[in-house]
């Protein structure tokens, strides 16, 4: 299992810990709780449920066990509860590697010989970040925003804000470095 699949499994286990749910209810709960997340396809929900079923982490609930997968409601097993508990008891490694696409691209932009190209990229990236930041801020301050919307927007805003501050600081550092070298 790659790490993306691991977190979908645990997410579904987590959602099921709040009560028995059908596949489509899980999909809906996912969309409500993680409103800004990458979309989760129905197919992925069912594929993950099948795997969880195979591993004995979830079980069909009640009378519906003979119906097709769309009709089946799932419930967490003891083993599933233990797997969820174990997952929650381990700390996520706090950024063991610095490998975001943004980080890489900015570093490369600062290396390439074509200064105008680099400048155009950095300015465009800054603008894109700023626009997204404004979009998310509008979303979370809208009177209709739910707590789930705000929590998701906050996460994205904090990261975009950090990216922008890092970008500015980096350019200042490069400029300082140049002033020192060329003076």
């Amino acid at each position: 299992m790659n790490s993306g699949l691991v977190s979908t499994s645990h997410l579904l286990l987590g959602l099921l810990s709040t009560g028995t749910m059908h596949g489509y209810e899980l999909k809906r709960a996912h969309d409500t709780r993680l409103p800004q997340a990458r979309p989760l396809a129905f197919g992925q929900v069912y594929a993950t449920l099948n795997r969880l079923l195979r591993d004995g982490l979830v079980a069909p609930a009640g009378q519906e066990r003979l119906a097709g997968p769309e009709r089946t409601a799932y419930t967490l097993t003891e083993q599933g509860r233990a797997a969820l508990d174990q997952w929650l008891s381990s700390v996520e490694p706090p950024m063991p590697h610095v490998n975001s696409p943004l980080f890489t691209k900015v570093v490369v932009a600062l290396l390439v010989a074509d200064v105008d190209r680099a400048r155009a990229y950095l300015v465009a990236q800054r603008r894109a970040h700023t626009e997204r930041l404004r979009e998310l801020t509008a979303l979370k301050t809208a009177p209709s925003a739910t707590v789930d919307d705000v929590v998701a927007a906050d996460y994205a805003i904090a990261h975009l804000d950090a990216d922008l501050r890092w970008l500015h600081t980096t350019l200042e550092r490069v400029a300082d470095w140049h002033r020192e070298v060329h003076s």
Partner: protein, 233 residues
Amino acid sequence: MTQLQARGLVKSYGPTPALRGITLDIDEGEIVAVTGPSGCGKSTLLHCLAGIIRPDAGEVSWRGHRLDTWSEAARSRLRRTEFGVLFQFGQLVPELTAAENVALPLLLAGTGRRAARTAALTWLTRLGVAECADVRPGEMSGGQQQRCATARALVTEPRVLFADEPTGALDTLSGEQVLTQLVRVAKEQHTSVVLVTHEPRIAAYADREVILRDGMIDHTGLGLDAPLAGGSR
């Protein structure tokens, strides 16, 4: 409609240039963030726009009237009626309660005592600090003081609000509550806002961002002449 217009603003403090030719239009109801690194001239620009200081050269027009040629008395009258100002540290009058602080601009503008007190209470409630009404600033938290100062800046229902790092002294959540209220009220009343900040997260509350660097507008947002490495490292 353009509320506030700046043309070629230049301002120095002795030998130190603070503004080196700023041209800017602010529309009615528009929220404009002024950002840029420390010392780039943000506060100086805000003070020129609000008529607190006069530029050395250039013009500031308020609804078509040349503000920079007005007397100090006339500018100060304008600041009391049409403008609201809000700074990083609320600057409440320490001897007065929150309600008295908020009522003060109305009393100065000639509103009766009872009406001023009622309005003050309404604004304190809107900013979520009704419970502070009869408390003096010294007994309030920084966040509560800042909300009171925001209420005081908005109570006259100004046409333009000038805010210099209004959330600079607050934690993320309190800062956000103050800003959300401020933006909501500004949008309801078509108040223009000049919001000075150095935080991208705060600037994102504005409709538009004006970035300064060394006293000039920086259209790239990243420093006009920041030399890039260009492979030469």
